[in-house]
Symmetry: D2
Subunit: 241 residues, 4 copies
Amino acid sequence: MNFDKLKALYINCTLKRSPDKSHTSTLMKVSQDILRKEKVSFEEIRFIDYDIASGIYPDMTEHGWEKDDWPKIQKKIMESDILVFGSPIWLGQKSSEAQKLIERLYGMSGETNSKGQSIYYGKVGGCLITGNEDGAKHCAMGILYSLQHVGFSIPPQADSGWLGEIGPGPSYGDTEWEEEKIDPPMGFDSDFTNRNVTFMTYNLLHLAKMMKANNGYDNYGNSAEGWEDGSRWSFENPEYR
Amino acid sequence: MNFDKLKALYINCTLKRSPDKSHTSTLMKVSQDILRKEKVSFEEIRFIDYDIASGIYPDMTEHGWEKDDWPKIQKKIMESDILVFGSPIWLGQKSSEAQKLIERLYGMSGETNSKGQSIYYGKVGGCLITGNEDGAKHCAMGILYSLQHVGFSIPPQADSGWLGEIGPGPSYGDTEWEEEKIDPPMGFDSDFTNRNVTFMTYNLLHLAKMMKANNGYDNYGNSAEGWEDGSRWSFENPEYR
Amino acid sequence: MNFDKLKALYINCTLKRSPDKSHTSTLMKVSQDILRKEKVSFEEIRFIDYDIASGIYPDMTEHGWEKDDWPKIQKKIMESDILVFGSPIWLGQKSSEAQKLIERLYGMSGETNSKGQSIYYGKVGGCLITGNEDGAKHCAMGILYSLQHVGFSIPPQADSGWLGEIGPGPSYGDTEWEEEKIDPPMGFDSDFTNRNVTFMTYNLLHLAKMMKANNGYDNYGNSAEGWEDGSRWSFENPEYR
Amino acid sequence: MNFDKLKALYINCTLKRSPDKSHTSTLMKVSQDILRKEKVSFEEIRFIDYDIASGIYPDMTEHGWEKDDWPKIQKKIMESDILVFGSPIWLGQKSSEAQKLIERLYGMSGETNSKGQSIYYGKVGGCLITGNEDGAKHCAMGILYSLQHVGFSIPPQADSGWLGEIGPGPSYGDTEWEEEKIDPPMGFDSDFTNRNVTFMTYNLLHLAKMMKANNGYDNYGNSAEGWEDGSRWSFENPEYR
C-alpha cells in the first residue's frame, strides 16, 4: 500500500499548554510512528497553545474579539486529508478545549467548497482519547458525531484510546505512581490499545486514500448550494405524495 | 450516477409493533422514495416485530433462550450494503429497541470476514431519528458511534431527523393535534428535514458505491485475525522506543 | 442515626435472566449489606425476569399487549422510599433493559399524587453500574437525569460502580479469567468502589429520611395539577414584563 | 412558604461576553423574577466574563497560569445555597464554557468541609438550557450528573429550558427572525417552558430550605476524611464475606 501523498493533522485538546506533558500526546505518538514509517506527513498541535476566541463564526475578530487564531487552525485542517481529534476526559466528558474545537468546526457550516458541499467533505476523521478511568467511548460519541455532522467521513473503528481501572491511578505513559516506578510506562503494553490505535490509523489512511482517488464526494444529492438553488435530485416532497 | 447494484436495509427501532403507525417509519419513506427512483433495492423492518433475545452472543438459543430471531436480522444486514438505523426518542434517549439492536450488533464483534476484519467492514451506516421535541443529535451520537465501532463506515451528514418545538406536540407525519387538522402532515414541509434526509441518503449511496468498487477495506493494518497471528504492519510497540 | 422505617428497591437491568450470574447484582449486595446492618428493608428484582411490555403507557395491556408486568413493578416502586437503578454497560451505554425501565417510568409522567405533583416526588434515586472497561459515568448521566426528570431527588455522589482496565477482562466479582484464579474476586478490594458504594448508600438514606420527615415536597410552586388549574405562585409571565 | 434566607447563584456559560445579548440570560430572568418576589437573594454571572484558567486545580496560578479568576467564582458558589447552571447548546452539546465550569468544580474534589465531606455537600443545583432546536436534555444529563458527582443535591425536575423546532430559527427571547417581528418574544408564551422553569425554581428552593434546616448531610457514612481515617460505618468489605 502506498499512502505517501496523504497528510494528517493531530489536534490535541488537552488542558495542558506546551511544554507540559500531555498523556494524549503520548498516545498520539503511537499513531504517528505508523504514519512516519508509511511516509505519511503529519503535524500535531495543541489547541490550547493558540489564542482561539469563543464563538461560532469563522473569524471572531469580526465579532468583537481582539484576537482569534482559529483561521490558522482552519487552514491547517483544509491542507490535511485526515484529522485525528485527541481529548483527555474530565468527569467522563471530553475536555472544554475539545468542545471549543467542535464549536469552531461547527462555525464553518455555512462555508462551501467548489461543489457547493460543506468544506470538510472528502476529509476523514478519527479520535484518540486518554483518561485514567472512564469515559473514552462517551467522548468519542460526541467527537465522531460532530465530525460527521460537519462533513468528515468516519472509517470503521475510528475511536481508540486508553483508560486505567476505576478510581485514581496512573495515566497513559506515566512512569511512576505513588512513588512506585512503572516499567514499561503505563499502557504501553496494552495489547488492546495498541491494536485499536493501529486499526484506527490504517483505516483513516485507507478511507482518505479512497476519498482522494474519488476526489471526495460527487455533489449529486448533497450540495448545500444546489439545494438552495432548487436542485432536489430524486427527492420528492412528501407533501405531494 | 448509477447506484442500482446497491441494497439498503432500514431497521426501525420504534416501540410500536406492526401495524401500529410509526412516525419513524413515516420519515423513512422520504429516504426510501429517493432509493426507489434511483433504482436501489431496499427493505424496511421493525426490530420489535421480531422475537429477539436479549444478550450479546450471536445466537442466544445457545445461551438458554428458547427463541432468537437475531440470526434472521443479521442475515439481512449481511446482504445489504447500507444500514439505516431508525429510532424514536424517549426522554432524550434512543429507544430500548435501538439499544437492543446495538447490543446484538456488538455481539458479532468476534466474527470476522474472509480478510480477518470485523464482518461489518465495507458496509455504511446512517440514522433517522424522530421525536416530538428534543434529543435527535444525542440519539445519533450513540447510534453512529456504535455503528463505526463495529465496522460500519459513516459518510458526512449521516444523521437526520425531525423534531417539534419543546413540550408536547404532534409528531412527524401527524395530521391532527388536539382536535385540529394539520395539513400538510406535521414536518412534511420542513425544508431542513427534507434536505438532511436527502443528503444522508445520497451520501450513504456514494460511500457504499465507493466501498463496493474498492471491495471494502484492504486488510493491511486492520485485520483482527492478522493482529492475533502477530501481524503488526508498521506499528511499533511503544515499549521498545 | 436511625433509618429503620425506610424501604429500598433495587432494580437490576442486567440482560441476564435469573438464575444466571449478574455482576451488577454482585455489586448491589455491597450496598444491601449496609442496609441490612442499618435495619433498612429492601428488595432486589431483575427487570428482565418480568414480562414487561414496550411502550409508554402505564398499562400496555390497554394498548394491544397481551401481558404487561409493569404495574407490579410500579407498585413496588411506590412502596419504596429509595430506588437503586442498576445497569451493566454495553458499548459504553446503559443496557436496553435500563432504557426500557426509563421508558416505563416516563410513561407515568401524567400521574399525580394527592398534592398534584408527579408521583415519584419525595422518593430518592441513585445508580450502580458495572462494566468491564468503560462507560459508568455515561450510563449514570442518562439514568440519574431520567430519575430527577420524573420526580426523584438525587443526593450527592449517587453514582457508583466498578470498571476494569480498557479492553476485555474480568467483570466485578469474577473469580477466574482466562483460566487464572482471581482472589479476592475481581473488584472486591477496590477501595474506590467500596467507598463510593458506601457513600451512595448512606446519602440515599439521609435524603430519604429528610424527605420522609418533610412528607416530600410542599406543593407550593411545583404542582402539575395546580399549574393546569391556573396556579402560578410567584411566576410572572415574561410576556407581560 | 418563607425562603428569604436563601441565596442563589446563576452561572451563565454562554459563549457571549457582556454586554452581548445572551438567550440563556433571558431565560434565567424568568426564574429570577420568581426569586425576587419570594425575597430570595441572587446573583447572575457570565463565566466567560472572567479570566478563568484551564485545568483541574483549585488555583491554576500555582500551576503556571499568570491569572485565574476561579477562586472568585468558587467563593460565590460557597456563599450560595443554590447553583443554577445555564448553558447554550452547540451541536447538541453543552458549551465549552459549561465544560470548563465542570472541570473547575471537579478540581475542588479534594477539598472537604468541616465534616470531612466534599465542600459542595448541602448545596442544591439545577440547570437552564437554551438552544434553537435540539439538545436540552443531553446538556442537562452532563450538567446535573456533574453537579451531583461533586456534592450537590438535585431536586425533581431540575432541568428546564427552551428549544425551537428543528433547523435554524429564532432563539429564546428573539423579537425578530428573517426580517419578521416576533411578538411576544420567542418562547415567552411557551406554557411548557414557563411551567418547567417555575417547577425547577421552586424545587431548588424547597430542597435548599430542607438542606439548611438539616445543616446539610450528617457525615455518618459519607465523610471522605472519615473513610481515609478508617471509618467504615456499616460497610463490610466484600472480600471477607
